[in-house]
Symmetry: C2
Subunit: 248 residues, 2 copies
Amino acid sequence: MASSFGPLVRKLQRLYPLTDDERHVIEGLCSRKIEVPKYTDIVQEGDKPLNSNLLLQGVICRYVLMPDGGRQIQSFHTPGDIVDAHSFLLDVMDHNIKTLTTCSIAVIPHEKLRAVTEAHPGVARAIWKDTLMDGAIFRQWIANVGRRNAFQRLAHLICEIFTKFEVVGLADSLTIDWPLTQADLGDATGLSVVHVNRTLKELREAKLITIGRDKLTIPNWDALKAAGEFDPKYLQLGGGSGDARSLH
Amino acid sequence: MASSFGPLVRKLQRLYPLTDDERHVIEGLCSRKIEVPKYTDIVQEGDKPLNSNLLLQGVICRYVLMPDGGRQIQSFHTPGDIVDAHSFLLDVMDHNIKTLTTCSIAVIPHEKLRAVTEAHPGVARAIWKDTLMDGAIFRQWIANVGRRNAFQRLAHLICEIFTKFEVVGLADSLTIDWPLTQADLGDATGLSVVHVNRTLKELREAKLITIGRDKLTIPNWDALKAAGEFDPKYLQLGGGSGDARSLH
DNA sequence: CGGGGCGTTGACTGAGATCAATTATGGTGG
DNA sequence: CCACCATAATTGATCTCAGTCAACGCCCCG
């Protein structure tokens, strides 16, 4: 029934009941569509953007560079995510955003966002809720990096990514297209590349994952979930009003 | 001029221009005021709150408990913070919130929040922006825990706390009332208590901090800031329309 | 077919955890 | 006012997980 709508409407109505009117308003937010090649920064620290970016296709990460040259990835994003919704209200970017694959992106001017959220409290609330969910994921990452060992951290992160893929229909049963290098994984979990490599090997040997030719397979979801202490509650997949497909 | 308003209005108008009307509406959000003793959980994981809590006085932390009994603190809060604004839109709590001192708290019913944000887009935007700033702090913490060593982590955290205190007038020149135990610091930075102790000693020996009798003094702000790579940009103290006191 | 990025492995090092005492510190009841 | 107890801070000794350094293999792409 909602198949004529784009990924943002599909996502938001999973979070929040939307009227037909609101659905059309959201669909009209996008001003133009752009294609962005792999490994391209779309926003950089210090920028004062006038648009937000809705990811339509591909995978994107958010990261900061440390003074010593290190990098910390703070989140990954899948289609339907407004990767920098917060730039609507926070004027200067405190991090960078980069594509990890070729991406298709819809550009949403802040002035449109302003007009629409002013006129439609329901739409404002839906997008607000979306930004709050990002916050919930950030909090999880703090705990992941602060209190889990390498094995658990990677298991948890892989669970999160897989789930995000699955929700937007990018999982083929037990496997997904894997967009990350081991360096990316290290920068996301606060580990060195070498240690990521060794820990992935352990995960493979424990039969929790299979990696081959840009594909990742999770043969035993429950085992990986347990290893990473992964509880998808924080991803807020339960509530909302969308077609509540049961996951896993 | 705004002295007749409470800490929330003072904070929000620092973030966002507010009309007189909006100021009064915000002031009217609070339904009742409660006093909460030290070390008391005010919200717990799994709760489905019907109210949000505005901190009027005292210090509060947000934390999760890990399966192995460990604890990860995810944020600290000072007066003017709505410590669980997100519970307005995310129905189930994925973490706990606890007082670290005796606290005075204003309870804001979600239904009031709903009515007010629906009728006043400016108020909605101000509170939304506030939740986005929390998100910015979470992101900083990911980087702090993921990519800095013990010395830097503690320096950074102490800078953040001191700044938050200063903004709401809780700093007496170079010193503040220090509400944290070393265990708290460890749980916030992902370090063990023992190592926190040793690292604080280093910070003392480097003349970056002084701790005595529940007071913390920062004799050399610039040095501590440099040690923690602290850049207050993410706290969004610059913009807004409040009386822009220059800090430091 | 050569070079650069990424993955893999080994050897060594080190920051920070863990274990175990000991010493403040502060609150409480007699 | 003091004995007592719990909590927090401090210190030493030892261990370990993860970082660093270095080399090598693989594979894709020009």
